[in-house]
Symmetry: C2
Subunit: 649 residues, 2 copies
Amino acid sequence: MPEDSITLTFPDGAKKEFKKNITGLEVAESISKGLARNALSVTVNGEIKDLDVPITQDATISINTWDSDEGQYTFWHSSAHLLAEAVQELYPDAKFGIGPPIETGFYYDIDFGDEPFGQEQIPEVEKKMIELARNKSEFKQKEVSKEEALEFYKARNNEYKVDLIKDLEDGTITFYEQGSFTDLCRGPHIPDTSLIKAVKLTNLAGAYWRGDVNSKQLTRIYGVSFPKQKLLDEYLEQLEEAKKRDHKKLGKELGIYMMDRMVGSGLPLWLPNGAVLRRTLEAFLRDEQVRRGYKEVITPHIGNIELYKTSGHYPYYQDSQYNPMQVDDEEYMLKPMNCPHHHRIYSNDLRSYRDLPLRLAEFGTVYRYEQSGELNGLSRVRGFTQDDAHIYCTHNQLKDEIKKTIELTQFVFKTFGMPVDIRLSFRDENEDKYGGESEYWERAQQEIREVADEMSLDYKVALGEASFYGPKIDFIIRDAIGRKWQLGTVQVDYVMPERFDLTYIGSDNDKHRPVIIHRAPFGSMERFVSILIEHFAGDFPLWLSPVQIKILPISEDFNDYGQSCADRFKEIGIRVEVDSRSEMIGAKIRDAENAKIPYMLIVGAKEKENGTVSARRHKMGDIGTFSFDDFFNKVKEENTSRSLPPNHK
Amino acid sequence: MPEDSITLTFPDGAKKEFKKNITGLEVAESISKGLARNALSVTVNGEIKDLDVPITQDATISINTWDSDEGQYTFWHSSAHLLAEAVQELYPDAKFGIGPPIETGFYYDIDFGDEPFGQEQIPEVEKKMIELARNKSEFKQKEVSKEEALEFYKARNNEYKVDLIKDLEDGTITFYEQGSFTDLCRGPHIPDTSLIKAVKLTNLAGAYWRGDVNSKQLTRIYGVSFPKQKLLDEYLEQLEEAKKRDHKKLGKELGIYMMDRMVGSGLPLWLPNGAVLRRTLEAFLRDEQVRRGYKEVITPHIGNIELYKTSGHYPYYQDSQYNPMQVDDEEYMLKPMNCPHHHRIYSNDLRSYRDLPLRLAEFGTVYRYEQSGELNGLSRVRGFTQDDAHIYCTHNQLKDEIKKTIELTQFVFKTFGMPVDIRLSFRDENEDKYGGESEYWERAQQEIREVADEMSLDYKVALGEASFYGPKIDFIIRDAIGRKWQLGTVQVDYVMPERFDLTYIGSDNDKHRPVIIHRAPFGSMERFVSILIEHFAGDFPLWLSPVQIKILPISEDFNDYGQSCADRFKEIGIRVEVDSRSEMIGAKIRDAENAKIPYMLIVGAKEKENGTVSARRHKMGDIGTFSFDDFFNKVKEENTSRSLPPNHK
């Protein structure tokens, strides 16, 4: 290999030789014109860089386009600069704080001085951004000394940037320029502004400088941007659809849950319809777990603080826990997790290798402190019920048990019509924050990869994303409107068996440490139900609907026949109600539609005489007249098979 | 009516005229010789008195025999005196503290000075008691002045009685004498010692004088006594049987629950078998409740302290609650009851008379502080799950709803083969501790009595036993060995609707207050399961057994056939296990018998060939060979009908 050559390794493992100091853009061009046109940044050895930075040595490389998180991150970072450029054009005295990319989009914190800035000013800024984007201004990096940087911002009376620069070390400071705008920034950025084709400024908020309530409050402008107008349109449509499906709105309308100031913040109360939904989900998972050899346990909601000192969660996670309570001469805590209680159950008996794997499951309610500003409906609460389980097994059983937990998780999400992406979160060997023996980590990561391959899973590996006690598998589900949610997790744990001194007697009659798998397919009942409500827009599958059938007698003369139909359904556990009010049939249908009840059965003289029912399906209208028995069997089959609703996307 | 006559009213409501100053004994004699022979004391206008006390005016009266709580109370009080007489004979220098009757039996606290007294001395005291009892010494009351009383005990160096007398008012002090023994005592007592035919001193303990750890520790001798030797024999047999059935012993052996020092005091952890038992009981009651129009809710285990200030439970019941936790600027408490949470759910909607009755049910886990010395297995714990419900109804619906709650409670206990006694706990009109309007109390008590009569219930009325917020109905069940347990309760509540400002819109379009019924048939899952374990001695009915069938293949060759049988049972939700170990069949049977598994199915060559099973019933041995289908149907029927075990008393 010539001395001025380097070898680059691509994401698919392919290796290729290039001349030294080649740039990311040139690498992209060497692959295809299209790729070069769409390239936004390049990741070299795990670090995202500008496309024009020379690559000086052998490296792993990936060209980041819009289709990758890294590409979007770069795109939105540059869009924040474009926002600032537009604001600077329109408000020459505005002073800029910080402007980072976020999970979806970006924001910039700006001091408008005495200048009024509100919702009315937004369209003008959006227009200016598109106008400036069309200039095709390049993002140019410039190294500056600390003195130069300070002088630059002092001349502009920008105390915020001055404040930031003071904390930086001389020799590490860079500016980025595009058009008439210069920003203190580490980058990286996209090649030029013309890639930004569509912009929407989504929100305005107040934000204290550096989050300090004693500092000045700046105006935070949130935005999102796209390389195509069509992508923005789709995004706005999704936002609109999400608003309609908002679980806080539907949760109230459908009587799923309530929040109450007097009961407390972040503590949902499950109303009758919500309790049916939750109990049905729990029964579904419980039955499935029994079938797969799990054993249920029930443990208290508090525990002696010794449990959490032993696990190491106290005092290190104290900020996310409720304060301890003094009882006699002991301290007790609301349990922030179920694990220590389960470990004590494991320890309650002498365990032999013949008893393993031992799979202990609990719908365990835990309490964690969250800032009140972070609380959000059912999706972010202070008390929630995990569909928790801990599998205690030997190292030889680990691979098989991991496979079984993946199968269970897949089965669960398939039932809800939710596609799943899988991420294998492994340790970064360069970091030494991990517990447990290296040999076990290697073996477990190897086995997890083997299982994923054997099961032909489509997975990504994320180095450095493991928990400190072992590698894990994360499940990212997509809902009906394409949003991604990280739900179920499967975690291997080498640390707690040590801390709780868990042992089993092996076939060699010696004591050994088991390994633990922590897993929770739903994650928490509260958060999962919030996602289910939005996924189905409240139009739950028959088996999950709090009321499955509403029988609507045409007049009071047919209440008896309606009731006799209802009784038949009740015998097989179908949740049915009879609307025996003296309302017109139209009103009864409207109310049942609004309550999103899957089936409405209209019964009058003809139905009573012939032993039939006239059926309507929610959102589909009339589906015809059936003999009672035919309809009964149809419902029974749909309920047992847990079919998705016919109109579900 | 002559001037020297009085009218006495008997428990059955009958009234009869007697001469003034007649004694209880004379009244008994006027009824029957047998009653006079068995009479122990008399209750006049609610107060228990000696049989020889003259009755001076019209009164309600009941003659107390051994069959009444009042009779046993008198009997055991006199037995305490007999114990003291015996001790005085044997230990002339012994000094006596207090010696009251208790729920079962009596005790006396005695200072033996330097004299050793222990278990070895007990038989001699028992013998002496019986010897003295045969003397037929009468219990004679004597009024004494405070001075005389003090002199009497100072002369005997008894600082304890002197201490007691100091607190008494002159003119109210009485002594009782029998044989050579005199005691400071208010009475009442039985006529003479000869009624005491059988005595057992059951326990010795240390007891500080007046419960003060800084005072001297006396020796407390516990005992129990009976009017017939046969009753003592039965009692000792029951004690022995109770020991065998002890839920702490069986709970451990059968894997129902565990306690763990590290998790905390009084906080049971339900092990897999216990969780199956508890979930099965919950499902049984839940289904029954759904059928009867209840709606389930689920509420958090903590609540803002405002809830308990509003209900009035804080700070007045602070001693039995866990300390509050500070969260931001609010205080939260582990909930000691579910009521306030349910009341807030009621308030969450505008309620109309059409929505009532609203029956909200929850298996709600609550936490209450108990002294660590009071904790006892599952029967006295610090965290427990109530099978709670609150029925919100109009005053017109109250009677019907009370009837329905009684029916549900009766249905529940009948399922477990537990006879139920009913106590109507009403207010004592002479006390003014009760909340709510008098008119409502009168009406509710009247309606409760009507319901009880309409249902032909065998009930007792207990005046003064109501809760402060309304009358209640208590259910006292008898277990298989005759012990009584107070379980389910139905309470009417007029106070909380006021405190929580609960309203509904009546048909008159005005706001009204609903009335609340609190009810819990099991009371708590923990305590009920402790009673169930002892009631069934761990031999649960099929439907409740954690493992219902164990299949025992004769050798490994028949594991497959065994498994195929098991799979059939699993399809209908029967809990079945296959013992596929390479053990001898005798060992497999022994292990299954020890685990108290209802059915054991032995399968070998013959069974496999013929598609049969050879069945054993726990404790009954071989019950014959069945075709698989016949046995399957038999088990299905027994499970569905919730039959009691064939060998259940």
